[in-house]
């Protein structure tokens, strides 16, 4: 398994402000993923973050709104910029670990974001 620390666990923010979410992994991983889970919905991939390269964003997500940093192999941040109430969601980071039985994907505990 993987130990993934995600901060903050929750926050209440004002419209127009930005929030940076941190994801720290207990050991080096190549690929990190950021997901959004809107209220009562499933998880949607925002972007894939590899160390040393620009993040790859999925359709409907843009770098100006969700800038991502990946300064090393154990850490990543996701910023939700110029927030509106529609950004109220759970944001989760995920990492892939390759073990003897193949690839497994593990999640951080999530950040519950409420935008007023």
């Amino acid at each position: 398994s993987a130990v993934i620390s995600q901060k903050p666990s929750r926050d209440i923010c004002q419209r127009g402000t930005s929030l940076t979410i941190q994801c720290q992994v207990d050991s080096q991983v190549t690929m990190m993923f950021w997901y959004r889970q809107q209220p009562g919905q499933s998880l949607t991939l925002i972007a894939t973050a590899n160390q040393g390269s620009e993040a790859t964003y999925e359709s409907g997500f843009v770098i100006d709104k969700f800038p991502i940093s990946r300064p090393n192999l154990t850490f990543s941040t996701l910023t939700v910029s110029n927030m509106s109430p529609e950004d109220s969601s759970i944001y989760l980071c995920s990492v892939m670990r390759t073990g003897t039985t193949g690839e497994k994907l593990f999640f951080g505990s999530g950040t519950q974001l409420s935008v007023l």
Binding site: M31, F33, Y35, Q37, Q41, S42, L43, T44, L45, T48, N50, T56, E58, I90, L92, S94, M96, T101, G102, E103, K104, L105, F106, F107, S109, G110, Q112
Partner: protein
């Protein structure tokens, strides 16, 4: 794009009984992984079980087992001897390298209620 369908928004099972959650998926690939994740109210995404597509043998993890039918593109989860702690949202997910480097595509989820 690969799609994952969970046709049961809600399921209910009595404690100690067995329940099966359904999942179908659509893909043209031959090499991929399938997962079941559990999300309790704490919002933590917990990996329940994982299946490699190239393996014919169905995966099992204690009380959890899958029925993987590759030709039918079906991946159901069976929970035996259900416990109150099994109550949660269950998500079926698909992963392959071509899918944003092993990112997960999730179904909409099935809410499992366990009654005493």
């Amino acid at each position: 794009a690969q799609t994952v369908t969970q046709s049961q928004p809600e399921m209910s099972v009595q404690e100690a009984e067995t329940v099966t959650l359904s999942c179908t998926y659509d893909t043209s690939e031959s090499d991929y992984y399938l997962f079941w994740y559990k999300q309790p109210p704490s919002r933590q995404m917990i990996l329940v079980i994982r299946q490699e597509a190239y393996k014919q043998q169905n995966a099992t993890e204690n009380r959890f087992s899958v029925n993987f039918q590759k030709a039918a593109k079906s991946f159901s989860l069976k929970i035996s001897d259900s416990q109150l702690g099994d109550a949660a949202m269950y998500f079926c997910a698909y992963s392959s390298f071509s899918n944003s480097g092993y990112a997960l595509n999730f179904g909409k989820g099935t809410s499992l209620l366990v009654t005493p």
